[in-house]
Symmetry: C2
Subunit: 140 residues, 2 copies
Amino acid sequence: MLRLRNAGYKITPPRRAVIEVVLREGEHLDPNEILQQAQAIYPHTGRATVYRTLELLTTLGIVRPIYVGEHGPTYIRAEGGHHHLVCSLCGAVTDFDQCVADSMERELEARFGFQIRSHLLEFYGYCARCRQTQPEIAAN
Amino acid sequence: MLRLRNAGYKITPPRRAVIEVVLREGEHLDPNEILQQAQAIYPHTGRATVYRTLELLTTLGIVRPIYVGEHGPTYIRAEGGHHHLVCSLCGAVTDFDQCVADSMERELEARFGFQIRSHLLEFYGYCARCRQTQPEIAAN
DNA sequence: TAATCAATTGAGAATTTGTCTCAATTGATC
DNA sequence: GATCAATTGAGACAAATTCTCAATTGATTA
């Protein structure tokens, strides 16, 4: 909220609602789900406003879209890192915690003059279950 | 192409065209651009076939969708790693090379029984130019 | 507190993107 | 060359996203 105001944007009810919904713990919501939950908080919230707010919050580095499997975008808080193992066959996503990316941030910031706020590390391949059930694909 | 045949799929002109387009160096093309370029190679290529082929190639671990900035999916070769610095303000994407993710693969494979084929590491933040031109946003 | 004004909004139209259906075609095998 | 399941393209369809514009509202100033 402060980040919004500091950047010169108004604090409005629909913006409050969208922020509250997206920043709730553990949610990976798509724009439509965000619209519905925002309307539970502020009933007049419109679809276009949700899209506009998500774009704004993404620009400000507060939330971030992530894409997993064959589905459309889902939004999460941008802060910190996100680490996934993604199965190319069944689409299953497994989170893991320890990550060596933090150790790279300082050097990249120095080298590119880039101010890093968060990161995403994803490994793609075949999960244990699919390797058993569809060995002919995983073998190639 | 061999991976396709080995997995039991036919080699057809539109599939050839899509593969050729996506695997060309340095391209991050969206499905519509892929359709157009594939039609330049094989004019009869249809939209549905492009989507079907991209899904198939993704399943086989040959290509992969990536999502950057506010735009829709874009396809790249899956092989190996992709490393990006993504500016949340202007959307600029900078590639970098050295990456410590490889060192994690063996351990993750052992821990989760996962067969890793590729990875994506992205850092999000503000690029040097935007930090200068829009300091009030980057400062928050 | 009231007045002001640019920023923001919602509703729905319009566009874009992705999926599905099905008859016709084609690649691989023999 | 014959066979047949896999694949295809066209266009209908559905879903997701963006645009438009008059009405409203938040923040600032008086």
